[in-house]
Symmetry: C2
């Protein structure tokens, strides 16, 4: 099948100057998929940036209502293309059609776009602050430059570069998007980009509001995220690539929001284990095996205290992991990365409880794996023993005391999440505080008696955390409207005449219900009323 | 006079292992001041970090009320030490005692601390978001690690490392501060640190809540801002040092907020010049000469359109600049930096209208200077022609048309401010839009018919802007409570049992008037009421 076109400056273009092409592989059969995709040249990326900047300038003149219409129309089109999308994503990622793709991720993706539309229309996201005495007002506004979105391999819909959370947040904040497809699901991404582009045209937004490329050389990627014409970048993926892109963007002073690796520690306090050992083991396996363990919030690191229940828990967990068939991994690098990670963990002192080997399946797979290590050993080499194994793999750290559990927490890197399991009877209350005090500062989202997978799209969500889980502890990739603030700049207006102010800062509330901070009070009213 | 002590871990220590010492110079007389100050070693800085981390952990257990008490007591002590502070700062910076230091900057500094106290007590700054249906809540919380503050030379009080805006914001957000004094006003900073430390002790905060060092080698400085124990850094100063610190902090994933150079463009539209040429020239000189031109928001770049009024304006401006005596610069590097900057500007095609030479004064001084260049020339070398000359120096760019003025705006780097002067009769309305569209994206604060100096400490202020004016376009260094968010992390609580939540996220409003976003509505009430 022929080389697939890129979408640049409002046109589907046969890549003319590609520096190479690539095909994908069906991870369930290890067979090559027919379509070829181009590796974009520097010139092509530059063209996208120029067109994106023009679109950004135009987009700032459109009403939020128009942007909301686009997002809603796009959501509708996604639903209309459900079967095509589910089939493509299943072929490219081997994620199950049901319930995962059709009933889970696709509705979530459409919902995110609708929530973003609602936030754009509502306008409260921009945090307008009016100071009537000094006539100084401020609000967050669009960057006025294209946002680059580089999505991950593990959520072909909900985090897709051309339809997922970063895309929705960037557009709702008023910026065009240059989507760089994740190279493991290009067909899926192209279907999204087609639907988005049609919605762009039908709504009358600037044609380059959505652009699509599939791959670049690393150098061209660095050029992209650090280019003077770029507004910001949203990246979700592995730490190695993330840090390289961060370095390039940081040097140029371009904001880049990264969601990188995380082992998502789960601390199970003694009272919880005494009370419901079997339930917790089942929950842990359920969470750890979601998406064949390829979730950013996968619980890959469990800390327990050695007592009469701890060995029973490890045995019970091992049994569940052993008895269940491993899922299919997203690509050929999936099993290899786990092999490499387990090598590091073992070298640092971890022992295999169950699994530890590539699974003998038609598709890419790795046996469900439990490892263990003493807290004493962990504390000798905390860095290596936090190596992420992206699959159904969990390392159990066995501590001698609550104090040692806290010490383990104190040696953790920044993580997206951290969980604390406790007795329902309050037995663990003082132990909870000891761990929470330390864990709170190490994670973005702290959970209690709950596994970390399942990231609700609610305004209070934080899908973020301290470095190296992300690049900045103050931003979230999930949760509208807060995620939009990543793609906005703080704009202050000092002594600007009333008719020259943006609507959001004029006396009259532009929607009649937008929330604004007027002279220190949050209000949905007009100034003076 | 003997070597001055540093304040580390709650003790004033004679620096034992200093890697060197330095003395300051009185810029008004060019004579050496008697006190010597130590250059801190790596070990000493490490000690401060360890103590700061311990203090941070303790500080998180204190009520906001206690932190507010400290800030208010500190403000009171500053007022009690007015004469000592004014004398020290005048000696070290040559800034006038009246009105600048005693009636302007000192009351502002005390006021900032009181506003920070109010914000801490009020708690609304933390942006609590409660989602009662999912039991997921979030808010901003202290970093739980010391904040490094490196203040600038030009505001010995209001931006002082141990008393200024960054200090106030970091403490109010619940973090201890490691102040690195600006080496041009160490005695002033030491007086602040003494007052702060006494207030710490009297309030009962952890002794290492405030620490003070004066200078480090560059390498130790990089270690400080990138250290695992550091929470974040607030830096105000020159671009060269700022970028080096940024590189070190970025690599380690440590937030650093930088306020660097800015030429603060002023666009004067033809209608305004026709209407009030002389007034604008006077205003411009007034703003440009404040603090001998050493303001971050100094208007160093003026764009006008060539017409019958433009030469008259340049002549008028030149006359005012020539007739006024230059102020005393902050240090010996002051005149040298201006000489270097003017060399770059001239080489790139700018011509001297008036001034351009070191002034023959007892203190460090440079003659008030106006330069001019055509917009055509500017557009050939926009980078060099935006070189900041930190003094009473302004470059007039003469454009042929409004379109060319917009093109000049389009070639600007990120700036803290941008001003637009317009006719009061509405003659410039369409021209205003043409420039504003471009300028809006280049600056943090957009002004209309107002000069950029004078940064009101109000919640709507943005003393920030796109790179390289700062390191991130979403944060402000002035304006409480927003400036506090730089020194906080987003903390989400998922399924956490009610009694384990921080007070700000429990059902009951902890102050009875704190603003919280409950299920999509800003409210001062309790959950369910």
């Amino acid at each position: 099948m022929s080389l697939q076109p890129v979408l640049i400056a409002g046109k589907w273009l046969e890549a003319k100057n590609t520096t190479g092409t690539f095909n994908m592989t069906n991870p369930a059969t290890k067979s090559k998929l027919p379509e070829s995709y181009p590796v974009s040249t520097k010139e092509e990326v530059h063209e996208a940036l120029e067109a994106g900047k023009k679109a950004a300038d135009e987009l700032r003149t459109f009403s939020p209502e128009k942007i909301a219409e686009f997002l809603e129309l796009f959501a509708k089109k996604i639903e209309e293309h459900t079967e095509e999308l589910v089939n493509a994503a299943n072929l490219e990622t081997a994620l199950p059609k049901e319930p995962r793709l059709r009933s889970g991720e696709l509705p979530r993706t459409a919902n995110q776009l609708r929530l973003a539309a609602e936030a754009a229309r509502d306008r409260s996201w921009c945090m307008a602050v009016l100071d009537t005495k000094t006539n100084i007002h401020s609000k967050f506004g669009a960057l006025g430059a294209p946002v680059v979105v580089m999505g991950p391999n593990n959520f072909p819909f909900a985090f897709n570069s051309a339809a997922g959370g970063d895309f929705a947040a960037a557009i709702a904040a008023g910026n065009p998007v240059i989507a760089k497809a994740n190279t493991s699901h290009c067909r899926t991404t192209k279907i999204f980009a087609e639907a988005a582009f049609n919605a762009v045209n039908e709504t009358g937004l600037p044609p380059a509001t959505v652009q699509l490329i599939y791959r670049t050389s690393p150098d061209v990627g660095f050029m992209l995220v650090s280019h003077p014409l770029v507004g910001a970048t949203g990246f979700t993926g592995g730490r190695q690539s993330g840090l390289k892109l961060k370095k390039a963007a940081d040097k140029a002073g371009k904001p880049i929001y990264l969601e990188m690796s995380s082992v998502n520690p789960v601390f199970i306090l003694p009272g919880a284990l005494t009370e419901r050992l079997q339930d917790i083991a089942t929950e842990l396996y359920g969470s750890c095996s979601l998406g064949a363990g390829q979730f950013c919030t996968n619980p890959g690191f469990v800390v327990i205290q050695r007592d009469e229940k701890s060995e029973a828990f490890i045995n019970s967990l091992g049994k569940i992991f052993r008895e269940n068939k491993p899922g299919i991994l997203l690509s050929s690098s999936g099993p290899q990365n786990i092999v490499d990670a387990i090598k590091v963990l073992k070298k640092a002192g971890a022992e295999i409880v169950v699994g530890g080997k590539e699974a003998n399946e038609a598709g890419y797979a790795f046996s469900n794996t439990v490892l263990r290590v003493s807290a004493e050993n962990f504390l000798k080499n905390p860095r290596d023993l936090q190596t992420e194994a992206f699959g159904t793999v969990s390392l159990i750290v066995v501590a001698e005391s609550i104090e040692q559990m806290a010490e383990v927490a104190n040696n953790l890197e920044g993580n997206l999440t951290g969980s604390l399991y406790t007795s329902t009877k309050g037995d663990d209350d003082s132990d909870y505080s000891k761990i929470e005090n330390v864990l709170r500062l190490k994670v973005g989202r702290l959970l209690n008696d709950k596994m970390p997978t399942g990231v609700a799209v609610v305004p209070s969500m934080n899908h973020g955390g301290p470095f190296p889980a992300t690049g900045h502890p103050g931003f979230t990739a999930v949760g509208i409207p807060r995620s939009m603030l990543r793609f906005a700049a703080l704009h202050c207006y000092d002594n600007v005449r009333p008719h020259r102010l943006p609507e959001e800062l004029q006396d009259k509330n532009p929607t009649g219900k937008m929330w604004r901070m007027i002279d220190g009070q949050w209000s949905q009213g007009n100034v003076g009323i």
